[in-house]
């Protein structure tokens, strides 16, 4: 155990900090759940990419910087610590990206990853269907290989696809063997969202914005080169993606530590009001202890990974932990804000409050997306503790 950063790690931190100080947008960007905000965020991603800071852990040849996971954690700490914009292409970069690196062909990596790192291609995900939510193996959307073997013909419907209204491509799971059932006979495909036969219907989220969409496929042709992993092996490939998602990559600790710091500041600025309810102070302290514990667990896991360990079902404890912690912190902020909590960004009296409201609304989704926390608890019980199905 050696908890000192190396000179190289310190220099990297300094470099990221200096770059962010010089390049952060002066005004906050519009919400990335709107067309306008989405494009602003795309521009910001391009800037990050040009500085080779968009996907620091990817190999240089694919648009990254070849950093190790400790350096990635350092990047995240500086990024979120500076209050930098949310990552608009995270579904692609953090979920599909690692999957392509593990399962993609060299041709696919070269074709997809650099454009994903630069956000020239924005990705949406296509897992859920109206009747396949928590029970993802119930997928019925079909992808049937053409007789000449050059393309799949996709029919069906996907839903809850984040920011799909604005995205360029979708990755997801389709039934390529119509006679199959459950997790057999599925294939993992990348589909262009401007292909003929694709219809996107936006869904308004709690915040009133088109934060996600449902997507209809009507005889959509998808080239066979867009299949990631082997035919019929989609479930296996998707499970790897789900592992990344629940695990470290999607929700690095820094983002929550930043929220905890803001919450401590909010509490200190409103102490007289907040202390009328003594449980608020307790919750503020738990924001710090909780986010520190999450950060420490991340460093511990990264160290074990570096020594050859694999992330297994314990990734599910991560997902439960960060989503419930994030929700609790935002609930606490709302309780401190009291009657100002309900005010939207358009309210002259809102000031800082509206930012907490946005976070509070989004935090409601945390225990639901990426596999509900009930499903995660089943996974922990069955795969980590070995309890019977």
């Amino acid at each position: 155990m050696d908890l000192a950063y190396t000179p190289r790690q310190k220099a990297f931190r300094e470099e990221v900090r200096a770059w962010l100080a010089a390049n952060l947008p002066r005004e906050p960007l519009a919400s990335y759940d709107t067309r306008e905000g989405f494009e602003q965020h795309r521009e910001w991603e391009r800037k990050l990419f040009d500085a080779r800071l968009s996907m620091v852990i990817w190999p240089e040849a694919l648009g990254g910087r070849g950093c190790d996971l400790i350096e990635w954690l350092i990047f995240e700490e500086e990024y979120y610590g500076a209050g930098a914009p949310m990552r608009v292409n995270q579904n692609g970069q953090l979920l599909l990206g690692p999957t392509l690196i593990e399962f993609g062909t060299e041709e696919q990596k070269a074709r997809f990853l650099p454009r994903m790192a630069s956000s020239e291609d924005m990705w949406a995900q296509g897992w859920s269907e109206p009747n396949a939510g928590s029970d993802m193996a119930a997928i019925t959307s079909k992808a049937i290989l053409s007789a000449d073997g050059t393309h799949y013909v996709v029919n069906g419907q996907k839903t809850w696809s984040t920011r799909a209204s604005y995205a360029d491509l979708l990755f997801g799971l389709f039934r390529s063997d119509p006679a199959s059932s459950r997790h057999h006979g599925l294939s993992y495909l990348a589909v262009a969202l401007d292909a003929p036969g694709v219809t996107i219907r936006p869904i308004q989220a709690l915040n009133g914005k088109q934060a996600f969409a449902e997507i209809f496929f009507d005889d959509v042709k998808v080239p066979v080169e867009n299949r990631i992993g082997d035919e019929g092996q989609g479930w296996h490939v998707a499970m790897a993606t789900a592992g990344f998602e629940r695990g470290l990559l999607l929700r690095s600790p820094a983002r929550f530590q930043y929220t905890a710091r803001r919450l401590v500041e909010l509490y200190k600025a409103n102490r007289e009001v907040a202390d009328r309810d003594p449980s608020i102070r307790d919750a503020v302290i738990e924001a710090w202890t909780g986010t520190e514990a999450y950060a420490l667990a991340a460093y511990h896991t990264v160290g074990r990974l570096a020594k050859g360990a694999r992330i297994g079902a314990e990734a599910s404890t991560n997902k439960i932990y960060w989503s419930e912690l994030d929700l609790k912190m935002h609930e606490t902020a709302m309780r401190i804000l009291g009657p100002l909590g309900e005010l939207t960004g358009d309210a002259p009296a809102a000031v800082e409050a509206a930012r907490w409201l946005d976070g509070f609304l989004f935090a409601q989704a945390g225990p639901i997306y990426a596999g509900t926390n009930e499903i995660q608890r089943n996974i922990i019980a069955e795969r980590m503790l070995g309890l019977p199905k």
Partner: protein
């Protein structure tokens, strides 16, 4: 930056675990519970033969010179097997205090040598604990008089036993009169020693609580996998699964907090108080949840004397308030994070 244990440290933990598995089986625990002293000279002898009493003693006094980080692993094993012995109090907490005395302090080397060979029992009476653990069987007591540290032979104190619901804990009120002959440190030095001792005691307790949480989880998993109702193991029901998944999650996020605290202590970091208090809170909460969900999934069996769960639950309930209760440790964390200019947020987990 490497926040993991070395292979040597993990091998050491394995060896301790294997040793305690045979030496401190639940049946033996029950036998020792029934005795007047609550202590087994034979167990202590075996522990000493394994070299476990020598872990923290400096090498030049016949010990192994291991640091707080090794104890973060060791204490988890002591908790896991709920060993009925105050080994950590003497071999870690007292050894740490005595080793920190200036070289040449009368009896320092003698005490350390005897700790290493396992021939002395030392009770530590920090003011945060109203009662003293193992005062009765002790040969020597480290007692506080204001900032002063006194090393007082057992025969010079009056001991009034105060039974605990955890029969492995033998607590007593100690009456004594400070004398110049027993004074080993005072003033600023005494204050610093007691502060260090408090952190070691709290870390030791935190490690044991985490080990207890894991044991209660393991016992519960075994029980729900074999107990059948409605024609199937109750562990197949989601309501039961989720109870235990929550315990597993609590443990998963308490472990690295304990390790971070041990490192802070071993390296004398300025923020060690808050780190140790965080560890004590996190491990205590994991242990209490392990007990709560443990008794729930054991059903009525969990409420009996017969099922082993009780021994671990009682230890967990008791240790949660030892070496500072939650209020004490929460206050220390609050002091640190609510202070003006506190280094909070991303990037401050390892550096101020």
């Amino acid at each position: 930056m490497d926040f993991t244990f070395t292979d040597d440290q993990l091998t050491f933990r394995e060896a301790v675990s294997r040793f305690l598995m045979t030496e401190a089986a639940p049946e033996m625990l029950r036998e020792i519970w029934e005795t007047d002293t609550g202590r087994s000279p034979e167990l202590r002898k075996n522990i000493a033969e394994q070299g476990l009493t020598a872990l923290s003693v400096p090498e030049d006094c016949g010990g192994l010179g291991m640091d707080d980080i090794a104890w973060a692993l060791m204490t988890q094993e002591l908790g896991y097997y709920a060993i009925p012995d105050s080994l950590a109090d003497a071999a870690y907490v007292a050894a740490g205090l005595i080793a920190a005395l200036p070289a040449g302090t009368a009896s320092r080397e003698d005490w350390l040598g005897r700790i290493a060979e396992g021939s002395i029992r030392i009770a530590v009476a920090h003011p945060v604990n109203p009662l003293v653990a193992d005062a009765n069987p002790a040969n020597l007591l480290l007692l506080a008089h204001g900032d002063e540290v006194h090393a007082v032979p057992r025969e010079q104190v009056e001991v009034e036993p105060n039974p605990s619901i955890d029969l492995s804990r033998r607590l007593a009120r100690v009456r004594w009169t400070p004398a110049a002959s027993t004074l080993i440190a005072g003033g600023e030095a005494g204050r610093a020693l007691w502060a260090q001792t408090l952190n070691r005691g709290a870390l030791s307790t935190a490690g044991q609580l985490l080990g207890l949480a894991q044991r209660m989880l393991d016992l519960s998993v075994d029980y729900v996998a074999q107990r059948k109702q409605f024609g199937k193991p109750i562990g197949s029901f989601q309501a039961v699964k989720h109870h235990l998944a929550d315990v597993a999650t609590k443990i998963e996020f308490a472990k690295p907090v304990l390790y971070r605290a041990a490192y802070a202590l071993a390296h004398g970091e300025a923020g060690a108080d808050a780190r140790v208090s965080h560890a004590k809170l996190a491990c205590g909460e994991a242990a209490w949840l392990g007990a709560r969900q443990g008794i729930q999934v054991h059903g009525a069996m969990g409420y009996t004397w017969e099922v082993d769960l009780q021994m671990f639950m009682k230890r967990a309930w008791a240790l949660d308030a030892a070496w500072g209760d939650r209020g004490f440790h929460k206050a220390r964390v609050a002091d640190a994070i609510l202070a003006d200019g506190a280094a909070l947020g991303p990037g401050h987990t390892f550096e101020e």
